[in-house]
C-alpha cells in the first residue's frame, strides 16, 4: 500500500515538475518549440537601391553595412561626394545641380543615410514624374532614375547615352495581389 502511494505521489510530482518547467521558460516556449535565443549581429543593411554598390569605395563596403543609418551621413557623405564627382565630373563644378535641384553635397548628403522613405498617405514610388522618393514599387525603374540624377544635369538632358539603360521593366510581370513578386524561373 505504501509503495503504491509513493508511486502515485511520485507520478503527481513528476507531472507538476514537467508542467512547471514549461511555464518557467522565460520566453514561453515549450521544449518542442524552436530555439530563438542568442544575439544576432548586423551583417548587411539596405535602404535605397544600389547605394552601397555605386557610392561606397571598395575598402569601405563592409563598414558601411555595419554602420547604423543615423551615423552613416557623418561617416560617409564625403566619400559619396568624391565618388559622385569622379563618376560624373560635372558635379565638381560649383553650382552644378541635378534634376532634383540638388548639388553634389546635398545629393550625397541625402544618399549617404541609406534609408528608404515611404509615404503612408499618398502614392508610393521611387519616382513617377511627380512624386520623388515616397517608396519603391517592384515596377519602378530605379536604375534609370538614379542614372538620370547622376548624369542628366539640371534638366535631365546631359549625357543622353548614360541616363537610361533601356531596360525598363522586369522579365516577368508582377502580381496585383500578395505576395506581389512573380513566381520563380
Amino acid at each position: 500500500m505504501k509503495i503504491k502511494h509513493i508511486k502515485h505521489i511520485l507520478f503527481a510530482f513528476v507531472t507538476i515538475v514537467s508542467l512547471a518547467s514549461c511555464n518557467d521558460n522565460d520566453d514561453g516556449r515549450m521544449n518542442n518549440e524552436p530555439d530563438f535565443s542568442g544575439t544576432f549581429v548586423q551583417a548587411d543593411q539596405m535602404g535605397r537601391p544600389a547605394v552601397n554598390t555605386v557610392f561606397v569605395s571598395a575598402n569601405s563596403k563592409d563598414a558601411f553595412n555595419v554602420t547604423i543609418p543615423s551615423d552613416q551621413g557623418a561617416m560617409f557623405q564625403n566619400m559619396f561626394q568624391t565618388n559622385l564627382e569622379t563618376l560624373s565630373p560635372a558635379f565638381s563644378d560649383a553650382g552644378d545641380k541635378n534634376a532634383l535641384g540638388l548639388d553634389a553635397a546635398t545629393f550625397t548628403g541625402l544618399l549617404a543615410t541609406d534609408v528608404l522613405g515611404v509615404s503612408t498617405t499618398g502614392t508610393t514610388t521611387f519616382f513617377d514624374g511627380t512624386n520623388v522618393l515616397t517608396g519603391r514599387n517592384l515596377s519602378d525603374d530605379v536604375i534609370s532614375v538614379e542614372l538620370l540624377l547622376i548624369f542628366g544635369g539640371e534638366d535631365g538632358t546631359e549625357n543622353p547615352g548614360l541616363t537610361d539603360d533601356h531596360v525598363d521593366a522586369n522579365d516577368k510581370p508582377f502580381l496585383t495581389s500578395f505576395p506581389y513578386l512573380a513566381l520563380p524561373w
Partner: protein, 215 residues
C-alpha cells in the same frame, strides 16, 4: 594548357564578381554570395490602400537549378526597421527567421535596444508560415490584418549591368537600346509582409530599411 585554363576560370570569376554587383546584390566582401546578402528591398502601398508592403530579398542570382535546393539560413535574422519620428533610428522592427522549413515573424514591436545587435522578441510572435517550396503553390498566412510569405521568387530587379560595367571600364560610351537585363531568368529568396499602416505610426512618412543579422 592547365595554367591557361586556370587563368580563364580566375578571369571568369573576377568578371562575374564585377559584373553582377547591383541593387545590393553581393555589395560587400563580408556578405558577398552568402546567405546574409540582401539583394533588394521594397516598400510600397498594398493592393488594399490601408496597407504597406515590405519585401526583402536575399541570396541573389540563383539559377532555376540552384533555386530548387536553396534555403533560408536559420542563423540569419532578417529585420525590417521602421523610423516613424524622422531621426533614422528604428522605432519599430519586424523580425523574420527560419526554423524547420517555416518562417517565424515577430512584431512590429519597439526594440528594447536599437542598433547593430538584436535578440529575437519571441513574445511579439506575429505569425508562422510554411516556406513555399520551389515549384509548389504559394503559401501565405494572415493575422491581425497582416499577411506573410517566404520562399523563392523571380528577382524583381532589372538593369543592364553588363553594359554599365563596360562604360565604367572605358570600353563603351553609353548604353545600348534595347539593353540587356543582367538579372533576367534568375531568382532570389523573398520575405514579404503586408501590414496595416495604422500599426506603423508616423505622420505621413516613414524611414525604412532592412538588415540581416547573424549569430
Amino acid at each position: 594548357m592547365r595554367k591557361s585554363k586556370n587563368l580563364y576560370w580566375i578571369l571568369g570569376i573576377l568578371l562575374t564578381g564585377i559584373a553582377l554587383v547591383a541593387a545590393d546584390h553581393i555589395d560587400a566582401p563580408a556578405v558577398s554570395g552568402g546567405t546574409s546578402d540582401i539583394t533588394d528591398y521594397f516598400a510600397f502601398q498594398g493592393e488594399n490602400s490601408s496597407n504597406l508592403v515590405f519585401a526583402a530579398n536575399v541570396q541573389g542570382l540563383l539559377s532555376p537549378n540552384a533555386t530548387s535546393t536553396a534555403s533560408f539560413n536559420e542563423n540569419v535574422l532578417v529585420e525590417f526597421n521602421i523610423d516613424n519620428t524622422g531621426d533614422n533610428v528604428e522605432d519599430l522592427v519586424i523580425q523574420a527567421i527560419a526554423r524547420n522549413d517555416k518562417m517565424y515573424f515577430f512584431g512590429p514591436f519597439a526594440p528594447p535596444t536599437t542598433g547593430l545587435n538584436s535578440s529575437i522578441q519571441t513574445a511579439a510572435i506575429a505569425s508562422v508560415v510554411d516556406i513555399t517550396l520551389y515549384g509548389a503553390n504559394t503559401i501565405t498566412t494572415t493575422n491581425q490584418g497582416m499577411q506573410f510569405f517566404a520562399g523563392p521568387r523571380d528577382d524583381p530587379f532589372f538593369f543592364d549591368f553588363g553594359q554599365f560595367g563596360e562604360i565604367l571600364a572605358g570600353n563603351a560610351t553609353g548604353f545600348n537600346d534595347p539593353g540587356i537585363d543582367t538579372f533576367a531568368g534568375t531568382n532570389v529568396l523573398s520575405i514579404v509582409i503586408e501590414i496595416p499602416k495604422n500599426m506603423l505610426g508616423g505622420n505621413g512618412t516613414l524611414n525604412t530599411w532592412v538588415e540581416t543579422k547573424t549569430n
